[in-house]
């Protein structure tokens, strides 16, 4: 009987813990949405901050984040996908692949602030890009490179070997097999991985602190060598350095809500695409 009782107690505890985690998530989301929703307006999204960021909107920060996301993807996506194709399709299982895999794993474990330091030392100072979209995009690209590589590798691994051998047996070359058989099939999962890394880039703060982020710059960038504002850094600045909390808090809530909305949308999009493509591949 006591065995049953202890099982009962344990299971109830686990159920509670499970709901607690969901509870925490809803608490955070609910709080930000509740506080932020009244701040969001068309003006808030489309105008520049004014009064030393005590009023006005967050348009330059949205544009800045967009620039960084696009910039880092341009850099990381081709490189990551090619690198994954190499390790998965070409390299076999030698020590080079093992070495690359260990390095990729380690790269993904390095804290983002270390990427910031590195980006500042290499791109900003040594290569002389200065605080610029270019420097930050390269830094962020490096940060998501392991994520892109891993998701692409998983997508490639999911394709049964029989497809490859079938194509090769029909006389196709290796490159043709990859281009015409492997990549089209892996495409949905690769895209999902790409979208998830978009989410990661749009929220990162530490790597852009010293590579691009402008404290207050109410205009849009003209070139990739310009500084920009970015949503996560803007939230940090507005939340911590305002002297007039009453005026700056609403802006912080609004910025946080926009940031979370972007991340949520990206996650939803990824889930949706995974399902959509999943069905399509099956029916084929």
């Amino acid at each position: 009987m006591s065995r049953k009782v202890s099982q009962h107690i344990a299971f109830i505890t686990f159920r509670l813990l499970g709901s607690l985690v969901v509870g925490i998530l809803f608490w955070i989301l609910g709080f930000i949405i509740y506080k932020g929703i009244s701040v969001i307006s068309w003006d808030f999204l489309t105008t520049a901050p004014t009064d030393g960021m005590m009023s006005g909107g967050i348009f330059p920060a949205i544009v800045g984040t967009l620039c960084l996301v696009i910039g880092s993807i341009i850099f990381a996506f081709p490189l990551g996908v090619m690198s994954a194709i190499y390790t998965n399709e070409y390299a076999g299982n030698g020590w080079i692949v093992k070495f690359i895999r260990v390095m990729t794993n380690n790269l993904s474990g390095i804290p983002s602030i270390v990427f910031g330091l590195f980006g500042m030392a290499l791109f900003v100072n040594t290569l002389g890009f200065g605080d610029s979209i270019l420097a930050a995009s390269l830094t962020l690209g490096l940060l998501i490179l392991p994520l892109v590589i891993r998701t692409t590798e998983e997508a490639l691994k999911a394709i049964p070997n029989s497809f490859r051998t079938g194509s090769l047996a029909l006389g196709a070359s290796k490159l043709q097999t990859i281009r015409k058989v492997v990549l089209p099939m892996a495409f949905p999962n690769i895209i999902t991985g790409l979208i998830l890394s978009l989410g990661r880039v749009s929220g990162e703060t530490a790597p852009i602190l010293f590579t691009v982020a402008a404290y207050f710059l109410p205009k849009l960038p003209n070139s990739i060598f310009d500084q920009v504002m970015a949503l996560p850094y803007h939230l940090y600045v507005v939340a911590t350095s305002g002297t007039d909390v009453g005026a700056s808090r609403p802006i912080a809530y609004g910025t946080a809500l926009v940031l979370i909305a972007i991340v949520l949308l990206i996650n939803l999009l990824a889930t949706f695409l995974r399902r959509y493509f999943g069905k399509k591949v099956k029916t084929n």
Partner: protein, 412 residues
């Protein structure tokens, strides 16, 4: 006829060349991550290790003492104590029983008029020498340009570099203190460890419980809600966690424990615990799901309850995976920057309790790099902190890999 075979031959040849080119491009991009890591190492360590050849007093300045003073060198900590008047006698430093007289460079203008110091202060070093030679207990902090060189009765302390023990053993982090910046990382390392380890203490039971629930108890429908929720929790940007901590948790902690400020190590630990949860849950759940069905069924067939099976069979079987989860969780917590920066209060002092402000390594880099002049000792020290962080996470990811590869004990 011949031209057509020639053509196909050429095409084949061309195609082979293209394949080769593509393959080599792929090889190069495959090597990029490895190159990136090497670059990171090179740049971090190049900047960081410059620290140990930086002078331990402010650049361009020297310390002078009376020639009869037996002290031959001072470390940064001693210099600071002297200039804070916390050490007032040379005998505390192993010298003669003589009171220390501080002499700051500007004071020379109280002793001599501008005429006496000569044209463009050309006589200044000489006059400085006179002052120093007169007082056996004196210590003067002067620009190198005006240093009383080769003057009788004056000893210029050799400019020393910051040493490993100053850095790793130093208990004070005051990078802007003059004349000698205090670059001791002990408070930062201990602050980081305190916050991260306590975060894991909070997150581990919670995460393990949820992982057990997900892998053993939850039905498909609950899993479909919980899994995306956890993914979402992992996707929220750290600065949003920091903001949430700042406006919600900080006041709660302050009120609950009746503290003067709510920005404490504890607040940081709570936020970090929430942030480490997804990692711990996912890794631990994967490990538990890998328990062979036969083992569970054998346990149930022997009459064990479901719960007994979980804690006597599943959890021990997944032990290595669970340890890997803990290690990865700690890694996540140690490297986290923004959230910690926003809620821990950032006091760079030796941590004494969970209810005081502390400062972690990543938060220090984030807060100070913007103000540290490029190439100075402070800047280099921040890069050295980056090196420490890099090494810690390297060790952690290798440890996690080794642990999770270890074969579970089949003889259970």
């Amino acid at each position: 006829m011949t031209s057509s075979t020639d053509y196909t031959y050429k095409m084949k040849h061309l195609r082979r060349i293209i394949e080769r080119i593509v393959e080599s491009i792929l090889t190069v991009s495959g090597a990029i991550t490895s190159i990136a890591i090497l670059l990171i190492v090179v740049f971090l360590f190049k900047e960081g290790f410059g620290l140990f050849s930086s002078p331990s007093v402010e650049k361009g300045y020297v310390l002078c003492v009376n020639a009869d003073n037996t002290i031959e060198h001072l470390n940064p900590y001693q210099i600071k104590k002297i200039f804070d008047s916390e050490i007032e006698n040379w005998k505390e430093l192993g010298g003669a029983d003589e009171a220390i007289a501080l002499f700051r460079f500007e004071e020379i203008f109280n002793h001599y008029s501008d005429e006496e110091l000569g044209e463009e202060y050309s006589l200044l070093p000489e006059k400085l020498g006179e002052v120093i030679a007169q007082n056996i207990g004196i210590i003067a902090f002067v620009p190198e340009k005006y240093a009383p060189k080769d003057i009788n009765g004056v000893k210029i302390l050799p400019i020393e570099s910051i040493t490993l023990s100053d850095f790793f053993g130093g208990k004070e982090w005051m990078p802007t203190s003059t004349p000698s910046p205090q670059l001791g990382v002990l408070p930062l390392i201990l602050g980081t460890l305190l916050v991260s380890i306590f975060a894991i203490i909070i997150a581990l039971p919670l995460g393990l419980g949820v992982a057990i629930y997900l892998s053993e108890l939850a039905d498909e429908r609950t899993r479909k809600i919980l899994k995306p929720a956890i993914e979402l929790l992992a996707g929220i940007p750290s600065v949003v966690y920091g903001f949430f901590g700042l406006v919600v948790l900080v006041p709660i902690v302050q009120k609950t424990f009746d503290l003067a400020v709510g920005e404490t190590a504890l607040t940081g630990s709570i936020i970090l615990a929430i942030m480490a949860l997804p990692t711990i849950i996912t890794v631990a759940e994967d490990a538990m799901r890998n328990t062979p069905r036969a083992m569970r069924e054998a346990s149930l067939a022997l009459g064990a309850t479901h719960w007994q099976t979980i804690y006597k069979v599943v959890v021990p079987y997944a032990a290595s995976g669970i340890s890997a989860a803990v290690v990865l969780g700690i890694g996540r917590a140690i490297g986290e920057t923004m959230a910690v920066l926003m809620v821990t209060g950032n006091a760079a002092v030796m941590p004494h309790s969970l209810f005081e402000p502390v400062r972690t390594i990543p938060a220090t880099i984030a807060a100070e790099l913007g103000e540290a002049p490029s190439g100075g000792a402070h800047y280099q020290a921040l890069f050295m902190l980056g090196c420490i962080l890099f090494l810690i996470t390297l060790i952690i990811s290798i440890t996690a890999e080794v642990i999770s590869k270890r074969q579970p004990n089949k003889g259970l």
